[in-house]
């Protein structure tokens, strides 16, 4: 599913891997590390076809750089500046961890509390895991559920409670705590547990405990709040080789995993506070112990060994931050991505350096490379122009994806027919995880409907497989395959990437 592929990449955690596609362009070291930054950013923006981006740099508790480049919407002339609002996506996760930290500070929660101590109805597939999983676990991607289940919340009518209720049906794909597996729904659970312990919604907790005291007055936790805010970037994606504007997506039901919107100017407040051990302008926002908890490793994310990053030896996840060693320093980094937006927050606490990069396109990997080129300038290491490398890699990957699509079309078997008359496939199909998919017959064509959010006409592909072209372009096209039972009745359908939906038989109306 195209959308699934995309958010998979977008919400990629902390340490991003870039493949070595071309030789690095070496840049000469300059005395002023930021001298060529405007040129670097504008060039990256243009070459990666990003309509607008904004960057801010904090050093020694001062904002040494904050600028916007390009436009808020492709074809428009409203400029992006440091106050332009973007979706920060998964960079919201550290805010959720900080809210839990506040509850720990107030004695209303402990990091090692079982989640069920606060959400008694919370269940996972395995009873042992249900009993043992802690707040620390749900904030550090080690549930064993892997990076799955996103289609429970993405473009569904389910609220946070319903998303969490359904996750009990998600079978683990690795043994509990045995490996890293990026898990948005566990962050939703963390947010809901925090809301229960804090007596207010996650949105209210984030706003009153973090956004307001940090003076992040333009920031909010929902696209619903954007309507009354001016200076908002429009999301963009790539369709048919062109970068085009798309609608903001409401992801309120995944809020604690990624629904915060902010500007680089606002985000510098958050970054300054984290770099100062919890204080901003002399006011304590978080205890030093809380800030430390977010920054210590909880889950190993890989071997840490990567030929493109020979200076790195370890990579891990803290609570809402990816962690690694970088030229002998600790580096905190997290990326965020949701439809049409990609962002990165990076901190080097020992250097008292922080970087915020927000962009209004999801069709690039510059967000994951550019911060390294900037960090290298700031710490006096030789810049490696990973940005150019990323842009080249993106082009190669797009070509590979197009080729894969062509190959798939070629695999279509011609001259086959569905086993049954189209009307015999009609009915509701259900998955305990993802809910209902309705198949109906309209003007002689099968149509799939997912609640009132998604609709797709089904075109016969081959045998009992049909191709759905979804009304929401983010979902692209998907193959749906029906399977008959021994009676010759359509009993199940399988959506690629999501799994099996079982047909709901109405009582007494079985054939």
């Amino acid at each position: 599913m195209a959308a699934l592929r995309r958010i998979t990449r977008c919400a990629a955690p902390a340490v991003l891997l870039l493949s070595a596609a071309c030789a690095p362009t070496l840049q000469s070291r300059s005395s002023d590390p930021l001298r060529d930054l405007d040129v670097l950013l504008e060039r990256a923006r243009t070459e990666a076809a990003i309509p607008g981006l904004a960057l801010a740099i904090v050093r020694n508790d001062s904002i040494i750089y904050a600028r916007g480049f390009g436009v808020r919407e492709q074809g428009g002339n409203e400029r992006v500046d440091e106050h332009t609002l973007f979706a920060i996506g998964s960079n919201s996760k550290a805010f959720t961890a900080a809210v839990v930290g506040k509850l720990v500070e107030e004695g209303r929660m402990r990091w090692d509390d079982p989640v069920t101590a606060h959400l008694p109805e919370f269940r996972l597939f395995d009873p042992y895991v249900t009993r043992e999983i802690t707040m620390r676990d749900v904030l550090s991607h080690r549930s064993g559920l892997g990076r799955r289940g996103d289609m429970i919340w993405y473009a569904t009518p389910f609220d946070r409670a319903e998303v969490i209720r359904r996750v009990r049906h998600l079978e683990p794909n690795s043994s509990f705590r045995s490996e890293f597996g990026y898990q948005n729904i566990m962050f939703i659970a963390a947010g809901e547990a925090a809301a229960r312990a804090g007596g207010r919604s996650w949105d209210e907790l984030v706003t009153s405990w973090l956004l307001q005291p940090l003076g992040m007055h333009r920031s909010n936790t929902s696209v619903r709040d954007l309507a009354r805010a001016g200076n908002v970037a429009t999301p963009h994606t790539m369709r048919d080789g062109r970068v085009v504007p798309i609608a903001w997506r409401n992801i309120d039901n995944a809020g604690p995993a990624g629904s915060i919107n902010s500007s680089v100017a606002d985000m510098t407040q958050w970054v300054r506070m984290l770099l100062a051990g919890g204080e901003l302008d002399g006011r304590r926002i978080l205890d030093e112990a809380t800030v430390r908890e977010l920054q210590v490793p909880h889950t190993i994310t890989g071997s840490g060994i990567d030929s493109l990053f020979p200076m790195r030896h370890f990579s891990a996840y803290g609570l809402g931050f990816g962690l690694s060693d970088y030229y002998g320093r600790k580096l905190l980094m997290h990326s965020g991505g949701i439809d049409g937006m990609l962002s990165t927050v990076a901190l080097l606490p020992e250097e008292r350096v922080g970087i915020v990069l927000l962009t209004n396109s999801d069709a690039h990997s510059v967000y994951s490379a550019l911060p390294f080129d900037i960090i290298d300038r700031l710490i006096g290491e030789r810049p490696r122009d990973l940005t150019s490398r990323a842009i080249a890699t993106d082009a190669a990957q797009r070509a590979a994806a197009a080729e894969a699509e062509r190959r798939r079309a070629a695999e279509r078997v011609s001259g086959t027919r569905p086993s049954l008359a189209l009307g015999d496939y009609v009915g509701p199909y259900e998955s305990p995880l993802y809910g209902t998919l309705d198949i109906s017959l309209e003007s002689g064509q099968l149509v799939a409907r997912r609640y009132d959010t998604l609709r797709a006409p089904l075109e016969h592909w081959h045998y009992n497989t049909f191709r759905a072209t979804w009304s929401d372009a983010a979902f692209g096209t998907t193959l749906i395959t029906f399977a008959l039972d021994a009676d010759g009745t359509a009993a199940t359908l399988e959506i690629e990437g999501l799994g099996r939906f079982r047909r709901v038989r109405e009582p007494g109306r079985d054939r």
């Binding site: 090692d112 395995d126 042992y128 895991v129 043992e132 802690t134 620390r136 676990d137 080690r142 043994s175 509990f176 705590r177 045995s178 430390r292 210590v296 490793p297 909880h298 889950t299 190993i300 071997s303 840490g304 060994i305 200076m311 030896h313 370890f314 891990a316 962690l323 060693d325 030229y327 002998g328 320093r329 600790k330 020992e350």
Partner: protein
């Protein structure tokens, strides 16, 4: 139990690089080591350094036994303790190379009788888990230390060891899981762990005098004597037989032979062009598996390090922007360290005959600094000061505990009524006997001592073997006024058995 006993097979540390100018690079090292062993009160030390696949330094310092004139040299035998764990991990890697198992195999696929306290953990525990200290279990070392249980007996008992932490939630150093790994290796190969070490590692590396047991040491001439601080004075002690904990730490060797082991490691599983283990499975051992939290004190003391983790048989950490691979070993009277800094293609082995010494870890840093860019922090002096401060704090804590003794109390019962056999399903029996107006306690073959009344129904056992220190024992009475349970410090509750003779000597475990 065993407040005074420093038996825990543990840790240690890390490393450096340069050209052929070793003489120059290592100039001053001899004097540094001489001074350090004197300051740290280490009777004898062996040191070997490997650089670019060559042994560039191999030397002994001090004496094999305090009061004797026999010098330590590069051939002097020491216990390497837990540095043996990497040998066990490597044995499994060779068996995995042969396709007999996989790292993610469940333990129960190979040891069908293996059982942990929690059924989920029994089901999910993998070979990786056995080797990476994330079982959730702490303690249990008294199952093997000073006991006559076999390795298999010990692993079979672990089902009664209640977890201290939730499964895989944190690092918890666990020797018994290494015994289980040794049992798996035996099951896969049909050979004993000792034979496997001999055939698959010692023989191809030419480690001809190295052993997996203290027994062959008796017929060797150049062997260090273990030392420990007893009543404030560094004194020789007896070698401890830990054959029943072999895969967790029973190897004995010298720095010359251990240098071959370091060469094998730095060549990623190859020795003199001969491949012992595949590069891919060697990489697994050097990949982080379990995070070790660094506390704020350690963070301040060692700002060079941001990540501490455990691989499979190795500690892995960053040090001044480089990766360190290391493992120490501590068993009665011996402190060892094997450490490598692969980016500089350098490694070292430090073997000492002093109990629980911090010196090997510091000497490692000193030597690796030489390879990075010359002498750095004066680790020995800095950490010695810190260690002394910590020792004073520990003494103060002990004094505070001692002063918590309540004066003028009496045991509830006449002493002879406490006698009996007290049973714990994990550890077996503690037998309390009464003779000549005194109570005595016996636990296994090693722990025998008399009980001194402390306060109320609490007694303190002073073990005959001074290395074992003292242990607090508390009796609790039931409603009928009979002693019903005995709480043993560090071990838990033992229940009194009604059948028991009161004059028994010794007991089964």
């Amino acid at each position: 139990m065993l407040r005074g006993a420093r038996f825990v097979l543990v840790l240690a540390v890390v490393f450096a690089s340069a050209g052929s100018a070793h003489a120059q690079q290592l100039r001053g090292l001899d004097a540094y080591v001489e001074k350090a062993i004197s300051e740290w009160e280490v009777p004898g030390l062996g040191l070997a350094i490997v650089h670019r696949d060559s042994v560039v330094y191999a030397k002994g310092f001090g004496v094999r036994k305090l009061g004797s004139a026999e010098r330590v040299d590069e051939n002097t035998m020491f216990a390497i303790g837990s540095s043996s764990k990497a040998f066990t991990a490597l044995l499994l890697a060779t068996l995995i190379d042969e396709g007999r198992a996989k790292w993610d195999d469940r333990v129960i696929e190979h040891l069908d009788w293996f059982q942990m306290f929690d059924p989920y953990v029994t089901r999910e525990m993998t070979l990786r888990d056995l080797l990476s200290h994330r079982s959730g279990l702490s303690r249990g070392d008294l199952l093997w230390y000073g006991s006559d249980l076999t390795r298999e007996d010990i692993v079979r008992r672990v089902r009664w060891l209640e977890p201290s932490w939730s499964f895989r939630s944190q690092f918890g150093y666990q020797n018994i899981m290494y015994l289980a790994a040794g049992e798996v290796a035996e099951e896969l190969s049909g050979r004993s762990w000792d034979e496997l070490v001999q055939e698959r590692i010692f023989a191809p590396l030419g480690m001809r005098t190295s052993t997996t047991s203290i027994r062959p040491l008796a017929s060797m001439s150049n062997v260090a004597t273990p030392h420990s601080r007893i009543d404030g004075k560094v004194s020789p002690i007896a070698w401890r037989d830990i054959d029943n904990a072999g895969p967790a730490g029973s190897i004995n060797s010298n720095v010359r032979e251990m240098a071959a082991w370091v060469r094998l490691q730095l060549r990623r599983g190859e020795f003199n062009g001969h491949r012992i283990v595949s590069e891919a499975n060697h990489r697994e051992m050097w990949s982080p598996h379990t995070i070790i939290q660094i506390d704020t004190a350690a963070e301040r003391l060692y700002p060079e390090t941001h990540f501490r983790t455990y691989g499979l048989g190795w500690f892995l950490e960053d040090y001044r922007g480089r990766r360190l691979v290391h493992h120490g070993g501590n068993i009665d009277g011996m402190s060892a360290l094997v450490a490598m800094m692969p980016e500089h293609d350098v490694g070292l082995v430090i073997l000492t005959n002093m109990n629980g010494s911090g010196l090997p870890a510091l000497l490692m840093r000193r030597i690796f600094d030489l390879y990075i860019d010359g002498p750095g922090r004066d680790w020995s002096a800095e950490i010695l000061a810190y260690t002394k401060q910590r020792a004073e704090q520990a003494e103060a804590r002990q004094a505070a505990r001692d002063s918590a003794r309540v004066r003028n109390t009496q045991p509830s019962l006449a002493l002879d009524r406490y006698a009996g056999r007290y049973e714990n399903r994990l550890y077996g029996d503690v037998v309390i006997t009464y003779a000549n107006g005194r109570l005595s306690a016996t636990f296994g073959p090693a722990f025998q001592g008399s009980l001194e009344h402390w306060h109320y129904d609490t007694f303190r056992a002073r073990w005959q073997d001074p290395q074992l220190g003292t242990t607090t024992l508390t009796f609790a009475l039931n409603a009928r006024g009979e002693p019903a349970t005995l709480d043993v410090e560090g071990m838990g509750e033992f229940r009194r058995q009604q059948d028991t003779p009161t004059q028994a000597a010794g007991g089964t475990r």
